[in-house]
Symmetry: C2
Subunit: 385 residues, 2 copies
């Protein structure tokens, strides 16, 4: 197998949903690899030791979530946690109906799972957002109260544009209506406070510097679920998960939560700095709520620019950024989030700062960005428009 | 989180489906963690580097399997690979029927998936095995040829008792009948030669010293599949898999295949030695085919002994062994494999040797075993029977 070598001097500003491992995650993984490689379902010493590591990881995650240990489960990925949560909760509520209420800016995994769980007979009911990407709590509550709703899903914050959602008000309405609410905290947990306003919660360790290939699902004791897949002892993770990976995910979560207040303030200032400087570039739209938002995410779109070309141009200059409008291996569609907000869906750049991102990194990026935009516009022959 | 310390001087003889990591797997994992932590679906340098590692891993696995690179997919676990293979292949064949033909000694994951895929309207059709645990190729072929069969599944070898199955003959019959055959190579790949007689193949990296939390699925180009879960770009692994883990799985596979002839001979001799010595203990039944078998697995059952008690007694003496009749966290049922073979289902011990298991380890175990059996029989008050 060929093995590419890392490029020196790169600045990585695309840390949403896949950040470099936290140093303590690496250390925890290696420790658990020595002590917890065995199958935690076995009866011997090695198996029991592995099981103890999984239990410790569940306990640590539960503590951060304000949940009971037995309410926390590990899944094969954040996407898998969302798929399974929607499927299992909707199935358990089948006699009440099959409709699944979602915001228009949920992750694709939630939209797909809602479509799948509602069929046949039910519908995915999508609640619109405003130009900042936020649902109206009243409108969402109204949709919840309709006849035939099995469940609802609302993200804690939107990972593409950073806008926080009114989960407290929506959860209150959901409780009153007796409809279980899935809160996708995949972009929030580890970055901002996630309160107790959820019945089912999904979170993404790879987003806070834990390993990929692990997701987290928490289901309140009172919330019923019915497995929809083949029978088996682990309906949330058939075949089990990697013990070192779940242990590292939990250790990384503890570490980032401990450091959250400082990291939050520092990254929030950097994002304000970016918003301020970028908005001075010609024909740009900085999107998402400027105040009620994730501390580390900022998104903007340029007129007359192709998103994929801009990502590539910035990559050439040494900067890795995300884009809601660039084609990836997995999709050729422009961002449904930007479309639902009614903002520019092309020429988009998404920045997600790591805890380690320095002011100098951001300043170097801001120096390079206007020239990169000009070059892409030049290529498209729109310079001087 | 508390962190147990490893016990010194332990001998681990329970290496089936979860072996300690191969040293090269650890090295590969750490290398890929530095170079491949990013999301392989992203367009920037870091994303493309991660994608290159996944491609390299697929290529390496394909080479070992004699498959095309694009036929190989990574899944969240071996169990997930089996679940998804059965579901997707059966769904694609729905207009031909819904029955799923299996051997009676397939893994629980296959039995459950077959039950699930066949419903509603179809049946799981189970083909009996002889006292060595082997299906009759003719009987399996007969079941295949019935009207209404969607697909069939036959393990390459049984991981509990080691017996090889007649996959060549069964695959020939399946091809003639136009019925796709899933071959579960979860206990074989990395330990014994797995030929080209399969349409879909599942394998288990944790079984050959790769990471847990990864499975392998290979689907021949000619074999149709239809995803049964929510829409998404990765129906075999929603949300993707850990790049370092799949890279480590592939490197470990290359390493063990390279060393297979030597490891095979050495472990085969150790198993013969164990079979010979254990059969001299009073009231014991050594099960599985003595010749046409996996090189590293041996299973035996003691009359008047409880499996869980014996595992615990051996654990106390420093030996980790498996058991098809011990209660685990996941099941309180005795082994369906032993029951299907018509042999003793209680007092069972399963040994799966690691490549690193030494003759001295085995001799120490053989010295301790008779006394442990006596002590457990004493506790049950059957000494002297």
């Amino acid at each position: 197998m060929t093995h590419p070598t890392p490029a020196a001097g790169r600045i990585h500003l695309d840390n949403g949903s896949r950040a470099p491992w936290h140093p303590l995650a690496r250390q925890a993984f290696l420790q658990a690899l020595d002590d917890g490689w065995a199958d935690p379902r076995r009866l011997h010493t090695e198996g029991r030791r592995a099981a103890a590591l999984v239990d410790g990881a569940r306990e640590a995650v539960a503590q951060v979530l304000g949940a009971r240990t037995e309410e926390v489960r590990f899944t094969p990925s954040h996407t898998a946690a969302l798929h399974t949560a929607v499927a299992h909760v909707a199935r358990a509520r089948r006699r009440h109906g099959s409709d699944v209420v979602v915001s228009a800016v949920e992750r694709a995994a939630v939209l797909h799972a809602a479509e799948h769980a509602a069929a046949p007979g039910g519908r995915r009911v999508s609640v619109d957002v405003d130009s900042l990407g936020r649902v109206d709590a009243e409108a969402f509550a109204g949709a919840l109260r309709h006849e035939g709703v099995a469940m609802a899903a609302l993200q804690h914050a939107n990972g593409e544009v950073g806008t926080l959602q009114p989960v407290d008000a929506v959860h209150e309405a959901a409780l009153a209506a007796g409809v279980p609410l899935l809160v996708d905290a995949g972009a929030s947990l580890g970055h901002t406070a996630v309160g107790p306003a959820w019945d089912v919660l999904a979170a993404d360790p790879a987003d806070w510097g834990g390993p990929a290939g692990v997701g987290i699902s928490a289901v309140r004791h009172r919330t019923r679920t019915v497995a929809t897949g083949p029978e088996g002892p682990e309906p949330w993770a058939p075949g089990g998960v990697s013990v070192p990976a779940v242990f590292a995910a939990a250790v990384a979560l503890q570490a980032v939560v401990e450091d959250r207040v400082d990291a939050d303030r520092r990254r929030r200032e950097l994002v304000e700095h970016i918003r301020d400087r970028v908005s001075q570039i010609r024909d740009v739209e900085v999107v998402g709520d400027p105040v009620e938002r994730l501390p580390h995410v900022v998104t903007f779109s340029f007129l007359y620019v192709d998103g994929e070309a801009l990502v590539t141009e910035l990559d050439r200059a040494g900067f890795a950024v995300g884009s809601g409008s660039a084609c990836t291996a997995s999709t050729l569609e422009p961002s449904h989030v930007l479309a639902a907000m009614g903002v520019l869906t092309h020429g988009n750049v998404r920045i997600a700062l790591d805890r380690s991102t320095a002011r100098e990194d951001v300043d170097r990026f801001l120096q390079v960005l206007p020239g990169a935009v000009d070059r892409v516009r030049d290529m498209l022959g729109v310079q001087g428009l």
